[in-house]
Symmetry: C2
Subunit: 484 residues, 2 copies
């Protein structure tokens, strides 16, 4: 597989949509509409024996006579007709094909035979195909949305390959809500030809991809996957969510994708060895993507927890411990420094409990002291946007006319605090992972110093920090190994 063949998948000059339809209940209509809505930068050529026009485009009755620029075919016609369409693609010099059509190995032995035919044909004719039974592909750079579901992902640095179209599309939708943008997405379908690891290999060398995500149910060739993953993880983080961990889930996976789900324990050991970051749940996949996009890697696992109140410090401390992070004791000079900013009864320990201080300067002062401390590799900053809740109450009071003539003084400015954190991170290259006091979902916020992620709970922030450290530790070991 060379990268130029992937270019025709993700950045084609022209697309033939084989099976384009005027019937809104057919995928040949919906995919076309999605391609149009997405603003694809190249040529769009619907193909249907009926000819005519469709959504303002000329319809080609057959592949003959298609403009030369067309170097990608997207197929939605019934399964039985796909082999013939592949032959015609080959004749027209189209070597990259996305087979959206279903009715192949996922349906039983007859479908499997048909899928084998696609594979043999492709190998014989020098084609490559994605699918069959794929939900399609997306590329931000070419504005390509050759997808079944109506989704316009946010653009950004994450590329995702998913063995489930549904799971993949949900990640794109969640990304939009959380501010996690995508460069490329592939629903790999039945993997009749191209396999999960082929896309990982491509993403590893793709300059627009900063973080690779994968949803995996099963592998045809575990060794090849691990070889490719091991090379990829030296270049960029690869975060993986495994479906079919249990016997019940594995049985369900078998019924829908034909992939053989293997034993989970073996997978986990292999993932760790290859430097793959595992996401334990579906929503942690996006949490970790956001963390790796926006936070620098910690150089060690010594974490300081800054909290407005004891309870959240306890919860954060538990989570750090459970996920393998350490909370070092604070050295005396640092305690002396913090004494200046905090009430006399503050904890003097780690977590640093600010004990509900009303001093709005305490957060930035403490954070600055902490990030400068050599023995601290990263910070969990809890409740950084807490000020917003106060502001809402103040508005309510003004509305109720309770604050007439009263000066509430300088109020906590969560935006200022978040911007300061971004600046400190950029200067000191230490992760300062933020926890919202308001939001119930992970979200991205912008600042003049870049983008930042706020996690909804200390547990999720601690988990993300632990994953940053896991990857950093892996890279350190790899570097040592290379020197020996």
């Amino acid at each position: 597989m060379n990268s130029s063949s992937y270019e025709s998948f993700f950045k084609p000059q022209g697309i033939a949509l084989i099976g384009a339809s005027a019937d809104p209940y057919k995928w040949g209509f919906r995919v076309l509409v999605n391609i149009l809505a997405g603003g694809f930068t190249g040529l769009i050529c619907p193909v249907n024996p009926k000819g005519g026009t469709l959504l303002g485009l000329e319809v080609y009755p057959s592949l003959k006579g298609l403009p030369r620029e067309v170097n990608l075919a997207v197929i939605t016609i019934p399964a039985q007709q796909v082999p013939e369409a592949l032959r015609q693609c080959a004749e027209q010099g189209i070597r990259s094909v996305v087979v959206i059509s279903s009715g192949f190995s996922e349906t039983g032995p007859a479908g499997r035979t048909l899928e084998d035919e696609l594979r043999h044909l492709s190998s014989q004719k020098g084609l490559q195909f994605i699918g069959p039974n794929t939900m399609g592909i997306f590329c931000a750079e070419s504005r390509l949305h050759a997808l079944m579901p109506p989704i316009l992902p946010l653009f950004g640095g994450v590329s995702l390959v998913s063995q489930s179209g549904n799971v993949g599309v949900q990640m794109l939708a969640w990304g939009k809500e959380r501010g996690v943008g995508f460069s490329k997405f592939v629903s790999s379908g039945n993997e009749g030809d191209l396999q999960l690891e082929d896309y990982i290999e491509y993403f590893a060398d793709d300059p627009d991809t900063k973080v690779i995500l994968a949803y995996l149910e099963g592998l045809e060739n575990g060794r090849r996957f691990l070889d490719i993953a091991r090379k990829a993880t030296r270049k960029k983080p690869l975060i993986l969510f495994k479906g079919g961990k249990t016997d019940v889930g594995s049985k369900a996976a078998h019924s829908h994708s034909g992939a053989l789900a293997g034993r989970y324990g073996l997978y986990q050991a292999a993932f760790r060895q290859a430097g793959i970051i595992e996401a334990e749940t579906s929503d942690s996949l996006l949490d970790y993507a956001a963390a790796f996009l926006h936070y620098p890697l910690p150089q060690g696992k010594k974490i300081a927890v800054l909290t407005r109140g004891g309870g959240w410090g306890v919860v954060a401390a538990d989570a750090c411990r459970e996920w393998g992070l350490e909370l070092p004791a604070l050295p005396n000079p640092l305690i002396k420094k913090l004494n200046q900013y905090l009430p006399p009864y503050w904890s003097r320990g780690n977590p640093i409990d600010m004990a509900a201080t009303l001093n709005p300067e305490a957060v930035p002062q403490c954070l600055e002291a902490l990030v400068q401390e050599e023995g601290i590799d990263g910070i969990l900053a809890l409740g950084v946007d807490f000020g917003k809740r106060t502001s809402q109450m103040v508005e309510r009071l003004i509305e109720k006319d309770l604050l007439r003539g009263i000066d509430l003084g300088k109020k906590p400015d969560e935006q200022r605090d978040i911007h300061l954190i971004m600046k400190l991170m950029a200067t000191h290259r230490k992760p300062m992972v933020m926890v919202s006091g308001i939001s119930t979902a992970t979200k991205t916020v912008s600042s003049p110093h870049g983008e930042a992620v706020l996690f909804p709970t200390p547990e999720r922030a601690a988990r993300a920090m632990a994953k940053l450290w896991q990857y950093s530790h892996f890279l350190q070991k790899e570097a040592l190994h290379a020197l020996q």
Copy 2:
């Protein structure tokens, strides 16, 4: 402890705020403002030696001369002055006191001595107090917001006692975002007098409380707690989140509340035995509260999973298995029934994979068939609000003028589907736990048949279902036990 003494805490006729202040940087100002903003239904009497007026209220220079209705004191003055204030309360016949002031056992031996003095005084004078070092209390029925932080909780059926003010207040804030309403809240502070279990005992008999929540770091008297919890769980669900599970977290807990954090494993065993539902993470506490508020209990653990696509079915199946639920095979008559609604290539297994059908009637038809099936105790319905995403795309297409003259036909109506689910639940008394295809946080939706909860992931929905089953199973065992 009798319930009438609790009435004066939660539904006082009048409050004395000892330490009321015009200084917006003092808690004596902020608490007063919160009480006013909350719309307390009784008398509000600020007390401060300076006298005068404050926020439109007459300030009493001392407790003498307070109106007779005043039966609750809220104290924010410095720790050293609190014993004397307690004496004066006793003299005035005020027997219920909330000590917000900090500087007691949480600060060391001197503070502990002072806290002991409060306890002895109270016992001698026949008082009861909450705190010290509490963030205050809230009661929906009396509109009492005697709280340090500016929060106006949503009203509803949940009552919460928290050994951390911060954690408690965050739950109130999250409840607001997710549509989980509260009846009562207590930040129990240092528990110098009233203990966590005292509030649980009261909530268990309180008709406005449907679900009890607790955040626990440590117990003074484990046996008493378990006795009370065991009685409470026979009446209503008690959901508990434990802080200080690890050595590190336990150390942090010790430093801030003076509570002795015990060994987690022992706690867990005791919780299970007493029928307490444990929340594993801070956000699962609210997830479970929402589930117990709005879903009926399953009579068994046999679950059907309805999904739009295979991948999410796999993830849901894994989660059900991990949390102790079962996915039974579908009986033949049910498969035949579902054949009428689903594409020919549907899974014919459980999870029921609707295989990306474009038939908008398939969801209600399948759900109706599933809920009627005797061998199924509960349903996980994935992507019930999926239609919304399609609608958003359709709007985009209309905006781009791509849909002129095209009839997209009947589109999936997520509101209709959710309302149908609510109706089926009301009829069949089986939980049909819904997963959103859109939202990234747990949320409550309204219907003519009541309120419903949507979970953001199948894992969180499966966990909630497993907890409903755990409690149902506990009640079944208790009932059997009572018969023997």
